[in-house]
């Protein structure tokens, strides 16, 4: 179980309102990702749910029970911190067993749960080491182990992968997704990385300055962003925005077209420009094109074989059916 409902929740630190009134429902078993730029209030929101911060107003309920003033330990939630927050003087075994010891479980039960968590997370060989003797990825796994032995109603992750190197991050991302598949427990995952959000989430919550900009599945956000902020935030490379006459032709204040929806060629097309930088990834090539008269730079994603170079003049053809139109306030025009 783990259905979390926030109603008109606000949070202010002194005079600064970090979270304006906010409503959100997280369904049982859902993998929800809070994503947004740094400082937008993701951690604050997560800490409100965890109970590590008190709400300024509003109500939080977990599984239908009002949890607004319930202390963190009693909410039945487990949290994995960005710094891992392992207890440095305890062995891995003691770290993982700590919540169970606090819950006064008997030793046999503790040993059983620690052993099973350790085998799930490939930590069995490291149980007697101290956290200081582990690599970053292993420490992350210990932190997750400490969370799963409690069998919580929901897991809260605060940027758990941001201290890992790129290769490890991809691996851990998969492991966390697999863990969710196996446990089917509610997970709330905070990140500023939209790739993590897109790859892991059942439901993405895009935040800006404490406001929810849009809630939806990864593909909903990709195909029908509600406004220009979401459109620019989701998808990599970023969506191209074009204002002025070209947008007016489509009856909008501004239009957006994703790099993967533009074809680049040397003969014919409605737009043209000069290749400034080409980034070759092997599978794909990203061209950054200047002098189009539409925007500073238009980014185009092409097949890895396409071989234009710096200074080449190229023609661009957008796919008309996937052009996003936005009004003067940046809202999507249906």
């Amino acid at each position: 179980m783990g259905r979390i409902v926030l109603e008109k929740v606000t949070k202010s630190f002194g005079a600064t309102e970090v979270i304006p009134p906010l409503d959100l429902t997280i369904e049982d078993g859902e993998f929800t990702v809070f994503v947004g730029p740094s400082g937008c209030g993701k951690s604050t929101l997560l800490r409100l749910i965890a109970g590590l911060e008190d709400v300024s107003s509003g109500q939080i309920s977990i599984d239908g029970q009002d949890a607004t003033i319930v202390p963190p330990a009693k909410r039945g939630l487990a949290m994995v911190f960005q710094s891992y927050a392992l207890y440095p003087h305890m062995s891995v075994r003691k770290n993982i067993a700590f919540p169970l010891r606090m819950a006064k479980l008997d030793q046999a039960e503790i040993d059983k749960r620690v052993a099973s968590a350790a085998s799930v997370l490939n930590l069995s060989d490291y149980l007697d080491r101290r956290p200081g003797q582990l690599s970053g990825g292993q420490r992350q796994r210990v932190a997750i182990g400490r969370a799963i032995v409690r069998e919580p109603a929901a897991f809260l992750f605060d940027e758990p992968l941001s201290n890992l190197d790129a290769a490890l991050r991809v691996g851990m991302r998969l492991e966390i997704s697999e863990l969710h598949e196996r446990l089917k427990t509610t997970m709330i995952y905070v990140t500023h990385d939209q790739v993590e959000a897109m790859t892991m989430a059942d439901k993405i919550v895009v935040l800006r300055a404490g406001n929810i900009e849009q809630v939806g599945s990864p593909l909903e956000l990709y195909h029908t962003p509600r406004n220009q902020f979401v459109a620019g935030f989701i998808g990599s490379p970023k969506m191209n925005f074009i204002a002025g006459d070209e947008a007016a032709k489509h009856g909008a204040a501004s239009i957006g077209i994703r790099p993967e929806h533009i074809t680049v060629s040397d003969d014919g097309g409605p737009w043209s420009g000069v290749v400034s930088v080409s980034e070759h990834l092997g599978s794909d090539t990203f061209f950054h094109i200047h002098d189009t008269g539409l925007a500073d730079t238009i980014t185009v994603r092409a097949d890895g074989e396409v071989g234009f170079r710096h200074g080449d003049r190229v023609h661009l053809t957008p796919r008309d059916d996937v052009i996003h139109r936005f009004d003067r306030n940046g809202l999507r025009i249906a």
Binding site: G51, L52, A73, P88, H89, F98, M102, R150
Partner: protein
């Protein structure tokens, strides 16, 4: 920095300092050792006529073997002095470490006027031991006008002459007051380095305040506590001024260093005092070794 040339240059430049340090330590130590094996009573005229010793730059003295050593330990004041010393060291350590942890936790809380309060807490450390002992003696512990006497009377009790009737607790109180700032300061910096996410993780793991203290804060402080204990022990074994100014070694407050002082200056027996000094060195080393064994393993964790 690692060429042959730069290394010998470095050695050359360090030499004066090393030499000075050696002389500084070796001369008093060897003199103490030499005197401890001699009969040396400077106020007795017969010793001055016996010639000049070119090794020690002192009048030639008679060797007496281990006589000073055996006399020092067989004196009825020796074992009481050792136990008094250890009692003061132990008492002060317990009080300063416990109160130090408490104060450090309090000072770590965000509060109004934090800066001023912290300076006030540190202040006793800047007062010279002699002065602080005098202040305590006259201002707090005086049986007629001391603040403690007034406090006693306020509760209807008859004030006692603290420094004679409760001499040891009074001395321990004075010395603890002096060393509490040191302990607090070291422990405060240690507490401030504790990652707050660890405490939050423990809170989410279901550990209430006292368990968080026991399982997270205290282990985090163990290294700082070790340092406080080691440094304070070294200084406390030699405390002198506080006793000199208050009880003059009476009422069971005669420590080892005070006993040595009495042997050398009051009885004018330098040989006997030196033997006592050597015992003090041995005691200090035994205590230091024991401490290193017991708590020192925290240092290399």
């Amino acid at each position: 920095m690692a060429t042959q040339h730069s290394r010998s240059a470095a050695r050359l430049m360090m030499a004066p300092a090393v030499f000075l340090l050696l002389v500084w330590m070796l001369v008093p130590l060897s003199l103490t050792l030499i005197f401890s094996f001699k009969k040396f009573l400077p106020l007795r005229g017969d010793q001055i006529e016996s010639g000049w010793d070119w090794v020690t730059f002192f009048p030639s003295l008679d060797w007496v073997g281990f006589a000073n050593y055996s006399r020092f330990v067989t004196s009825s004041s020796f074992w009481p002095a050792v136990s008094t010393t250890l009692l003061i060291v132990g008492g002060v350590l317990i009080i300063t470490v416990c109160l130090g942890i408490l104060l450090a936790i309090l000072l770590d809380q965000p509060m109004w006027g934090q800066g001023v309060v912290r300076i006030l807490v540190i202040a006793p450390f800047f007062v010279m031991p002699t002065v602080s002992a005098l202040v305590w003696k006259n201002m707090f512990l005086d049986p007629n006008n001391g603040l403690f006497s007034h406090l006693w009377r306020a509760f209807g009790a008859e004030p006692i002459s603290f420094l004679s009737e409760a001499a040891m607790p009074s001395i321990i109180l004075i010395v603890s007051w002096q060393w509490l700032p040191f302990a607090t300061l070291i422990l405060l910096t240690a507490i401030q380095s504790l990652d707050s996410e660890q405490l939050e993780a423990a809170e989410m793991d279901g550990a209430p305040v006292l368990k968080r203290f026991w399982f997270i804060v205290l282990p985090h402080l163990s290294r700082a506590i070790t340092i406080v204990i080691l440094i304070q022990t070294i200084f406390l074994l030699a405390i002198f001024a506080e006793i000199f100014v208050t009880t003059g070694g009476a009422f069971g407050t005669r420590t080892l260093s005070y006993l040595i002082f009495q042997r050398v200056l009051e009885s004018q027996n330098v040989g006997l005092g030196s033997a006592g000094g050597v015992y003090a060195i041995i005691l200090a080393n035994i205590v230091a070794l024991l401490l290193m064994r017991v708590v020192g393993k925290n240092l290399d964790a």
